[in-house]
């Protein structure tokens, strides 16, 4: 069994860039896949991990070179396309990320699963149903005839796994197979992947999320800028990371990190995270004043109850984490609190004053005290505005976007969110994801609000960038005693950011309590399920 299924030595992939330049997406990468073992490939966006994965199926595109590229005993370096196709259809399979788009919405899934099989029409469909049954798809015969939009996210993911498994592959490459999935679903997929290794398949699992990979992988390689920075057994990587980048990545994972402890740190400087803790806690004055008080909010769209009788409150300077899976009603709740969607019933008070229901014109006086930050900041900026125009527009209450008098204040805002003032003349679309989110925070801070509603503010960011943004939010809260409503599906983030946590499912708030209690002693069965599904994370924080 120790015979490697795939052996890669000094794999490089390059693409033509602008003009005559060449972009080296992958540089001298070497690894082995062994039957019955899982190899984790970790890296952030642009690390070359997906290109590496696709190179194993001959789908990398670009210029591929390697000293050794041995797949199941075949030298795949100069393989003609027809032979690649044979390999792909049978011995090597891939599970793609983005389950919604990886199945053609126009074709029934049994075709998507089995159209590569060299069988008759009926036999193919039969095989597809069988494959679905093996991945425990409920009602496989019915589902086989449906198309991907008719399936839930979990079913789609199962279908994708069935698709990969139908040719009885010896090698499976799972590329970000759990990205954007809810906690429970992630758990499920990870379990299924683990199941593959027990069947003797050589598995490569690619992800940006170290925590998830650690659940399955026997060995891990860490990639950055197209190169492997560190490789080793999973335990070794987690417990005794040797490379700074690995350490940084580990530190950036918010799970189990107490409130206000910075996640992003220069590991080499050896800053002690605990050092900040007492000081920051000390600076927070205990107060009973409520920043936001929500009672009995409900909203129905058509015959779909989006939010059902939600009541919650946020203390001044405190953070309420609102957790729930997609479709649970989190965002609608946030919009109602912000006065963007009118609730059917219920009220919102801000510092004791009625905010909803109210006419927009009455509400406007209170608007300065509440701000918002969204998951996709780019969509919330006017594409015609530069950074300075966005900030000046916010500072001037929308009266102008050019007046020089606001420029100094705009620069101060940028400083607050740790952005260089050189970005003032640039446009949001020219900024990186992290910079955009900082800009969004800067804009939200312009009226000096007392409350920020943050709707999945870090979900689209890489772990290390997420860490810096979370740190920034912490800092701002410490400095300004701003109250946060922090909405996320990510338990690790909510654990790190919240004083109290509210759990939502199916439009209802099932459990509210202080963070520690919810995380460690959940009472509601849903919360218990959710917590059980979260990745167990046992690394030594003190390294």
């Amino acid at each position: 069994m120790s015979q490697a299924a795939v052996e890669v030595k000094n794999l490089s992939v390059s693409f033509p860039g602008h003009g005559k330049s060449v972009i080296e997406a992958v540089k001298n990468v070497s690894f082995k896949l062994t039957p019955g073992k899982a190899l984790g490939i970790v890296g952030e966006s642009g690390s070359g991990k997906s290109v590496t994965a696709r190179a194993l199926l001959g789908l990398a595109g670009g210029q591929v070179t390697a000293d050794v590229l041995n797949i199941l005993g075949t030298d795949a370096r100069k393989l003609p396309d027809a032979q690649w196709r044979e390999l792909r259809g049978g011995k090597v399979a891939m599970i793609l990320q983005d389950a919604l788009n990886s199945l053609d919405p126009l074709r029934p899934i049994h075709r998507e699963i089995a159209d590569a099989l060299p069988l008759a029409r009926k036999a193919r469909k039969h095989a597809a149903v069988e494959a679905l049954r093996r991945v425990e798809m409920p009602n496989p015969t019915v589902r086989a005839d449906q198309r991907s939009p008719q399936l839930s996210g979990g079913m789609r993911q199962r279908a994708l796994i069935a698709q990969a498994m139908i040719g009885n592959p010896a090698v499976v490459v799972a590329d970000e197979a759990t990205t954007a999935l809810d906690t429970r679903l992630t758990r499920l997929v990870l379990d299924q992947l683990h199941e593959l290794t027990t069947q003797g398949i050589a598995l490569a699992i690619i992800s940006h999320d170290l925590a998830q990979i650690a659940q399955v992988a026997d060995e891990i390689i860490v990639m950055r800028h197209g190169e492997i920075v560190e490789a080793g057994l999973t335990d070794q990587i987690l417990e005794r990371p040797s490379h700074d980048y690995t350490k940084q990545l580990l530190a950036a994972v918010p799970a189990g990190v107490p409130r206000f402890v910075p996640l992003a740190r220069e590991v080499s400087q050896g800053a002690t995270p605990q050092a900040g803790l007492p000081r920051s806690e000390a600076s927070r004055k205990a107060t009973d004043e409520l920043a936001v008080e929500v009672t009995g909010l409900s909203k129905t769209f058509g015959d779909h109850v989006a939010v059902d009788d939600v009541s919650l409150s946020i203390g001044k300077g405190a953070t309420l984490g609102l957790v729930g899976e997609s479709g649970s009603g989190k965002t609608t709740t946030a919009r109602m609190i912000l006065g963007l969607t009118a609730p059917d019933t219920g009220t919102v008070h801000i510092f004791g004053e009625q905010f909803t229901p109210a006419k927009e014109i009455e509400r406007r006086a209170l608007r300065d005290r509440i701000g918002a930050i969204y998951q996709d900041p780019l969509a919330s900026f006017d594409p015609r505005y530069s950074v300075s125009q966005i900030l000046i527009n916010a500072l001037s209450q929308g009266t102008t976007s050019r007046a020089r008098q606001y420029r100094k204040r705009a620069e101060e805002l940028l400083e607050t969110v740790e952005l260089d003032s050189s970005v003032l003349s640039r446009y949001p679309r020219e900024l990186s994801g992290g910079q955009r989110q900082r800009l969004a925070i800067a804009r939200a801070l312009a009226p000096e609000p007392d409350i920020l509603i943050l709707d999945e503010p870090v979900s689209a960011l890489d772990v290390s960038v997420q860490a810096t943004v979370l740190d920034l939010l912490d800092r701002i809260q410490l400095e300004t005693a701003t109250s946060y409503l922090f909405i996320t599906h990510d338990l690790a983030v909510v654990e790190h950011m919240s004083d109290t946590i509210a759990v939502m499912t199916n439009g209802q708030l099932v459990e509210t309590g202080i963070a520690e209690q919810i995380l460690n002693h959940p009472r509601h069965t849903y919360t218990q399920e959710l917590m059980a599904a979260a990745p167990t994370w046992g690394i030594n924080r003190a390294s």
Partner: protein, 263 residues
């Protein structure tokens, strides 16, 4: 757009503008002067596009016709767009029931093919330049109204608008800061795209004898008189037709690049 593309687009717009505003710079002669003795001359150095049945220089007429054809195209598009903007604003901001009533109405009008609608309008108004403008304008309005409504709805429901609301900006400021500027680009693109089609529709009406009457050098009208002599004097048909194709295709390409730049 590439640099060459930009240059060509610039030259094209400049040429059309000169032809429309100062046609005499490009063609000093009179588009209406008849010279029976020089009728039906094929293209030559003296008459690059040949002459028509009354000895009028076709090149001169095509150049001078730019103003006529473009005016009709612009006026019709302007009319259609004006109606569409009003309807679009009403449907985008009004209560749901008004929106759905207008939307139904638009669907009704949309259900009738453009040229048929134009013909039906002409059946009421009788032929002529102004009726043609009204007919083309009215018959293109439903299509525009739907686009503008969608555009406005998207804007009003966008996170950009939400962000401004949360910042406490008044409706008027949101409209002024975001809605108007972002809509103007879209409108500009739509108008540019629309002019091309309006020129085609209007010339179709002239061709059918329902639009601008001769001897005005409107391209459709020129084609209508040219078709009589199709076998004898092909140049009477070819050049005004090329003018229509050039302007319509040029306007479309221009409109598309405006669209691309605004997104």
């Amino acid at each position: 757009m590439t640099r060459t593309g930009k240059f060509l687009a610039g030259v094209f717009v400049a040429l059309i503008a000169v032809a429309a505003l100062f046609p005499s710079l490009l063609a000093p002669g009179s588009p209406l002067a008849v010279h029976p003795a020089e009728a039906f001359e094929s293209p030559s150095l003296r008459h690059p596009f040949g002459t028509d049945e009354s000895g009028r220089d076709i090149y001169t007429r095509v150049v001078h016709g730019t103003a006529d054809s473009l005016t009709i195209g612009l006026a019709a598009t302007g009319l259609g767009m004006g109606i569409a903007v009003v309807l679009g604003i009403i449907t985008a901001f009004a209560p749901r029931w008004i929106d759905s009533v207008i939307l139904r109405g638009l669907e009704v009008l949309y259900a009738i093919p453009t040229l048929l609608m134009a013909l039906i309008i002409i059946a009421f108004t009788g032929p002529g330049t102004t009726p043609a403008i009204i007919a083309v304008g009215l018959s293109t309005a439903p299509g525009y109204a739907r686009l503008i409504r969608t555009h406005l709805r998207t804007l009003v429901n966008s996170e950009m608008f939400d962000a401004a609301t949360v910042l406490g900006h008044s409706t008027w400021r949101k409209v002024r800061n975001h809605l108007v500027p972002n809509t103007l680009t879209t409108l500009l693109a739509l108008v540019t795209l629309g002019i091309g089609q309006a020129v085609i529709w209007a010339s179709a009406l002239s061709f059918l004898g329902l639009g601008t009457p001769p001897p005005a050098p409107e391209w459709g009208a020129m084609l209508a008189s040219g078709r009589t002599y199709l076998h004898f004097a092909w140049w009477m048909t070819v050049f005004p037709g090329l003018a229509i194709v050039t302007v319509a295709a040029g306007a479309t390409l221009l409109g598309r690049s405006v669209t691309r730049r605004s997104t």
